[in-house]
């Protein structure tokens, strides 16, 4: 009898072990991983997401990072998730984003994750091209997911000013935006982008009247206009003009890292921040891998994204990004967010006219 009980115990042990082995083999060989610290939701959900993502094995990612930066990001992700291959395709500039929009709409191109410019937010929402995801299950700042949950912020541009250190010192530069109107900065002393992104970013904070008056006066300073902030920062470094209004932190970093004699600072009273948003497409062929990748990019991937994009990580206090370290408090910033996006084109038009750029 005793022997029989022992025998049955051994039988039970083998059955349990066999079941465990079978369940592991059905998991495609993946051990159940502990949820990482950038995941806030239930651990089981993470496991399920990971399992499905690994089954899909691929993410097609359209983003503005250049190849060098994108490689840094995908390699970092692949170190963590070697079974998910990230294929990067560049979506850069309004032209190519318009083309991508047409391709998605016509079904000519399949992709999983897409960075969407502010200008196209409304269109994507109207056409319901993005999938809803509960981004708060990832450890993101509550302001990072869009209100409708279709996108999450993965980076941001901090708009400030820059100056050529060979021509000016920090004492000489205008400390507030209004000080740029001083007559000493007249006639090609200030470099500015033809695309008034900085001023559009400030528009809701200052309102129509103040902004229009300011831009009228700024236009009368006869700044030197060029297209593209990095091109302007290059000219600033070369000494074409001593001061630049509306420099972005990433464009400054790009040139500064090569040893250029320039410096960046944040004029008062408000510093505009514009964000880069990405979402998972409704018809994504790999939706789980896409969600996992994007969730990582918005949280743990921020540090590497910041490096890969010369400082285009989330510029909020508490983030281990260049902008995050520069900004002391959220109150210092004006965050151009969801409620203003639909008005961006209108602000852009008004700013262009107020500066005298549209003739």
């Amino acid at each position: 009898m005793k022997r029989r009980v022992l025998h049955l115990r051994w039988m039970a042990f083998f059955v349990v072990m066999s079941c465990l082995l079978i369940s592991l083999s059905l998991d495609n060989g993946t051990a159940i991983a502990a949820a990482p610290d950038w995941w806030k939701g239930p651990a089981q959900e993470y496991d399920q997401l990971l399992k499905n993502a690994e089954k899909e094995g691929k993410v097609i990612w359209y983003d503005s990072a250049d190849e060098e930066g994108a490689t840094m990001i995908t390699e970092a992700f692949n170190k963590l998730y070697p079974k998910i291959k990230v294929e990067h395709m560049r979506a850069h500039g309004l032209d190519s984003r318009e083309t991508i929009l047409r391709e998605i709409h016509s079904g000519a191109t399949k992709m999983d994750v897409l960075e969407v410019s502010d200008e196209l937010q409304t269109t994507y929402a109207e056409l319901k091209l993005f999938k809803k995801v509960d981004w708060l299950k990832f450890r993101v700042d509550p302001i990072m997911p869009s209100k409708d949950g279709t996108q999450v912020k993965v980076g941001g541009s901090l708009h400030g000013a820059a100056y050529n250190t060979g021509k000016l010192s920090l004492q000489d530069v205008p400390k507030t935006w209004e000080e740029f109107l001083d007559p000493k900065w007249k006639e090609r002393k200030i470099g500015m982008d033809t695309r008034p992104k900085t001023w559009v970013g400030l528009w809701p904070a200052w309102g129509d009247k103040k902004m229009t008056e300011f831009l009228n006066k700024l236009g009368q300073q006869k700044p030197l206009y060029k297209r593209g902030t990095t091109a302007l920062v290059q000219s600033l470094a070369a000494g074409e003009f001593p001061l630049m209004a509306g420099a972005t932190f990433d464009s400054y970093n790009k040139v500064k890292s090569k040893g250029a004699p320039i410096d960046f600072y944040l004029p008062k009273p408000m510093v505009p921040v514009t964000f880069e948003r990405e979402g998972v497409l409704s018809n994504a062929p790999n939706p789980n891998a896409a969600t996992l990748f994007l969730g990582w990019l918005a949280t743990a991937g921020q540090e590497i994204r910041d490096k890969a994009t010369n400082g285009e990580g989330i510029p909020l206090p508490g983030y281990n990004t260049g902008g995050g370290r520069l900004v002391k408090s959220k109150d210092q910033l004006f965050i151009f967010d969801d409620e203003w996006l639909s008005k961006k084109s209108e602000f852009t038009e008004k700013a262009t006219i107020a500066l005298g750029l549209k003739k």
Partner: protein, 575 residues
């Protein structure tokens, strides 16, 4: 005899239908989309748009449209006059005189085509920016020695004269290629007669050569004038910092600098381009209506000869080299300098310590460059063949056949030259996203179609002016000898115009390699080309890396143009 005539008529009709079909597909589809979308609201291809006249009201009630138009006309006129003056002088020196180093000179003159417009404009902005332009720095140094203390200038490239100066310099190679064939093939006995009658060399150039070559020059002038109206790079890089807006930069602001792009408004402006061009085409048609008057290759002892410049030979070469220095040496020098720097700075001894090849290393490491090189080479090999073949067919039908509608065919082939490349690109996107059973969207073949459409106008101008110079008595002689229509074209017409044809071929090849707008509009995963990568780098603010790729591109294009020149030279000797 009746049968032969019938065969000729059938052949001409067949050629007209075939060529007409191809041209209609290439040209009328984008033109149709341009006109259609000028009456639409909303994004083309998306639901919700309606028919409207509002785009026209907005475009043509706005007074700024007319100030931009005036700037465009001033710019285009200045550009065309400056470039035609230089081009005629250089064409005459190269083809009709014994100026030394003519072959070298010819190769040098074609080199500027190898510099993409954006790089050329950027280079000149680095040379003549009032504060840090290299030429201005050097000139200020010299002026300071004479007691003139200046902190800026003396030159300011950011001005209308600055734009005209650059535009004029830049249009010369195109004009030269269009008219040089006519200079080469002109019967020299006309000049000799003028000289015998006591006219000086300049007088004979002014009173004999130019009037005889008027159709070719007029066609080229119209081409460059319209091209200058549509020109974007110089007005964007030089005009915008000066606050000078032209029609093309206005269109750019409407089409691409905002979202959603206002294509309806853009295309309402584009229709104005087409109307202006139709007006110019009417003049052109009148000028070429009596084409035979201007035929200079006849069956009567055609033998090109050169004019002895005597003691003016070397100063003539110096003149040509000065042009080359301005358009190639200075801009390439500044690009090369920039490509060796970590960030842009004016050339100085102090900056010499920072020279490195890092930008070149960076370019060679970009993985997509390999794919882009492969795609670009495929396009460079195919686009000129297809373009010049269609162009020759169009020109032959227009000039030699008697089919009704032949002039219309020629005019239709000219229309793409008046259309902004952005519009051509957009039209192709809309067409091939909808015609998915033709699986070329996202491939290089759609770019090929875009480039052929864009350059067919140049191809037809080159081959039309060349065919106009060949008197039809030569073809009639072939007819009498019993040659078939195809044999007549292959053995009489084509060999006689081959140098001009190959010049056109080189022009299309070089421009295909540097065309940006169409490649960007049609850009997808697998069809990156060098020019789109160049643009991407520039947009990223990688000015020094852009310069490095630019220098590499220019070197490649120089090899193509110089090899092309060698081929043309051999062909010229052969025929």
């Amino acid at each position: 005899m009746f049968d032969r005539n019938k065969l000729r008529v059938e052949w001409e009709r067949g050629a007209f239908i075939l060529t007409g079909g191809i041209v209609a597909f290439l040209v009328l589809v984008p033109v149709g989309i341009l006109v259609w979308s000028s009456f639409r609201t909303g994004r083309p291809g998306f639901p919700g748009g309606t028919y409207t006249l509002a785009n026209y009201v907005k475009a043509y009630v706005d007074p700024s449209t007319y100030s931009c138009l005036l700037n465009s006309v001033l710019y285009a006129t200045g550009d065309s006059i400056l470039s035609i003056s230089i081009a005629i002088t250089l064409a005459w020196l190269l083809e009709r005189t014994n100026m030394p180093f003519r072959n070298l000179g010819y190769a040098l003159i074609l080199v500027p085509m190898a510099i993409p417009g954006m790089l050329f404009s950027i280079a000149w902005s680095m040379l003549l920016t009032p504060s840090i332009g290299f030429i201005n720095i050097v000139l200020r140094g010299v002026l300071n020695l004479f007691g003139f203390n200046m902190t800026e200038g003396p030159f300011n490239i950011y001005s209308l004269p600055g734009m005209v100066f650059l535009g004029g310099l830049r249009s010369v190679p195109t004009l030269l290629l269009m008219i040089v064939g006519a200079f080469r093939m002109m019967d020299p006995s006309l000049e000799e007669a003028a000289l015998v009658a006591g006219a000086g060399r300049l007088t004979s150039l002014r009173r004999v050569v130019i009037p005889v070559l008027r159709p070719a020059i007029f066609v080229a002038f119209i081409y460059v004038f319209i091209g200058a109206l549509e020109q974007f790079e110089i007005p964007a890089v030089i005009g915008i910092p000066a606050g000078i807006f032209v029609f093309s930069t206005k269109i750019f602001f409407e089409a691409t600098a905002k979202s959603p792009p206002d294509f309806g408004l853009t295309n309402a402006y584009g229709v104005a381009f087409i109307i202006i061009s139709i007006g110019l085409l009417y003049w052109y048609a009148k000028a070429t209506a009596r084409a035979e008057r201007f035929a200079t290759i006849t069956g009567k002892g055609y033998r090109p000869r050169v004019i002895d410049l005597g003691s003016w030979r070397y100063p003539a070469f110096l003149l040509l080299f000065s042009y080359f220095f301005l358009i190639v040496v200075l801009p390439v020098f500044i690009l090369l300098w920039n490509s060796l720097m970590p960030y842009y700075q004016a050339p100085s001894f102090k900056a010499l310590s920072q020279i490195s090849l890092k930008n070149y290393e960076f370019i060679l490491k970009v993985p997509r460059v390999t794919l882009a090189v492969k795609n670009t080479l495929t396009l460079v090999a195919l686009t000129p063949f297809v373009t010049m073949f269609i162009a020759f067919m169009v020109s032959w039908v227009a000039v030699r056949s008697k089919v009704k509608g032949r002039r219309l065919l020629d005019s239709v082939a000219f229309l793409p030259h008046t259309m902004p490349s952005v519009v051509i690109g957009l039209a192709l996107v809309l067409v091939y996203l909808n015609l998915r059973f033709i699986p070329i969207y996202g491939t290089i073949w759609i770019i090929l179609i875009g480039l052929v459409t864009k350059y067919i106008a140049y191809g037809t101008r080159t081959s039309t002016s060349a065919i106009l110079q060949v008197h039809k008595e030569l073809e009639e002689a072939a007819d009498v000898s019993g040659a078939s229509p195809l044999k007549k074209i292959m053995q009489v017409t084509l060999p006689l115009i081959l140098p001009a044809f190959v010049n056109g071929f080189i022009w299309v090849a070089v421009h295909s390699m540097r065309e940006v707008s169409i490649a960007l509009m049609l850009f997808s995963k697998k069809n990156a080309v060098i020019s789109s990568i160049l643009w991407e780098l520039w947009q990223d603010g990688r000015a020094t890396e852009t310069s490095a790729l630019g220098v590499m591109l220019i070197l490649t294009l120089v090899i193509i143009t110089v090899s092309g020149r060698i081929i043309v030279r051999r062909l010229s000797r052969q025929y």
